[in-house]
Symmetry: C2
Subunit: 215 residues, 2 copies
Amino acid sequence: MTQLASPSPSVDRPDRFDRSRVDRFEVRRGELADAALETLGELGYARTSLREIAHKTEFSHGVLHYYFRDKNELITYCVRRSKEHCVTRYDEILASAASADDLAELFAEALTETMRVDTSTHRLWYDMRTQAMFEEGLRPTVVDIDRQLEAMISRVVNHYAVLRGRPLRVSQAMAYAVFDGLFETCLMRHIAGDECAAPRLRAESAQLLPMLVAD
Amino acid sequence: MTQLASPSPSVDRPDRFDRSRVDRFEVRRGELADAALETLGELGYARTSLREIAHKTEFSHGVLHYYFRDKNELITYCVRRSKEHCVTRYDEILASAASADDLAELFAEALTETMRVDTSTHRLWYDMRTQAMFEEGLRPTVVDIDRQLEAMISRVVNHYAVLRGRPLRVSQAMAYAVFDGLFETCLMRHIAGDECAAPRLRAESAQLLPMLVAD
DNA sequence: GGAATGTCTTGACAGATGTCAAGGGCGGGC
DNA sequence: GCCCGCCCTTGACATCTGTCAAGACATTCC
C-alpha cells in the first residue's frame, strides 16, 4: 500500500527542522482543509470556490494561497484527508467477528452506518472519482485511494471466506466493484430522500457477501 | 416505464399544428444537442460552456438560447437523447440467445463493446448522475433514466434465470447495482488507459450473471 | 527595542460564464 | 413589391472565478 497519511508537500513551507513552526503550519492546513471539506461536501467539486471555502473560516480568501499552491492541491489534500480513516474503518470488525455470519452482519451494519453519517464525504469521493475520468491530473490521487478501498474490501471478503472455510470465487477487484456499486446506488437514493436506502444497503450487502464465496 | 423519447418542452416553440415548422425546429434542436454531446463527452458537465458547444457548430453562441431555455434544459435534453438507444440495447440479444450460457456470453460481449465504443457517453452519464447528488434539479431526469437502465438489466437477468430454469436470488435493484458497479469500475480503468479493463469486464460480467441465480 | 520573519488581509487583475436585448437578413404570404 | 415573422448574430451585462502582488499586523529572536 502506498503512503497516504501525509499528502505531498508543494507549497513553500517552514524549515523542516523547526518543529513547532512546522506543526503550527500543519495544524492550520488541517483546519482550512476541514472547512474546505464542509463546503466541498455540500456543493461538490465544481461548484466550490475558494472564496466560499474561506467564508466558512475566520480568515479571508487569500489565506488559502498561503497554505496551498492552488485549488487542485487543496482539493486533493482534502479528499486524501477525508479518506484517511475510511480505509481502515472495518479492520476492527475483522478482529471482533466471531463467525462468518457475525462478520456479515457487522460489516453490513458498519457500511450502512457510514452511509448515513458520512454522507457528504462519500458523495464528494464519488464526485472526485468521476471528475478524474475527465481530468487526468486527478487520477493519481483517485487511483491511490481506490486501491486502498479495494484492499480494505478485500480484507473483509477474505476474512469472511476464511471463517466460512471456503474459497472465494471472485477476484479482489470484482469484490470491490460490486460492493462499490451497491454502496453508490444506495447512497444516491439515500441522498434523494429514499427512506428505504439504508435498510436496503444493510440487507443487500449482508446478502452479497455469501454470494462471493463458493458453496 | 416513463416516457423518455421526447424530452419535455420548455422553450417557446412554433405552433404545434404547423408540422413542417415543428419538424425543422426539432431537427435543429437535435443537431445542436449532438454537438453539445460531443463537447460534454469530452469535458464533462462542469467544464462545458455554451460558447464551447456553439464553437463545434456552424452557429454562434446565442442560438442555444433560442432552442433551449437555459443550460440545464440543454444538458438534460442531451443526456436523455444519448440514453435513448442505450436502454434497449440488449433487447435483441434476449431474442437471439439460444441458451443461458449463450446469453451470458452475448451480454458480456455487448457490455464490453459499448464501453469501448461509447466511452464518452457513459462517462457523461456517470458525471450527470453524480452531479445529481448535489443538484436537486437534475434528479428527476437521473432517476428516470436510472429506472430504465435497471429495467433493462432486469430483463437480461430475468431471461437468464428463465433459460437456466432457476429462480433469481437477488432483487432487480441489486442486480442493477452490482452490474453498474462492475461497469463503472472497468470504464474508469479503461479511460485511464488500462488495457485489461475490457477483457476484465467481459470475463467478470459473464461470471457475475450466474452468481445471481440459485444453484 | 528593533529587525526579521511568519501570518494574514486587501484589492486588483484577467478571463470566463450564463443570460438576454437589439437588430439584421431572409423567405413566404398578401 | 412590401411587410411580417422566423432564425440567427452581435455585443453587452453582471457576476464569478483563480491567482497574486503589496502591504499590514503579529511574533520571535538578537
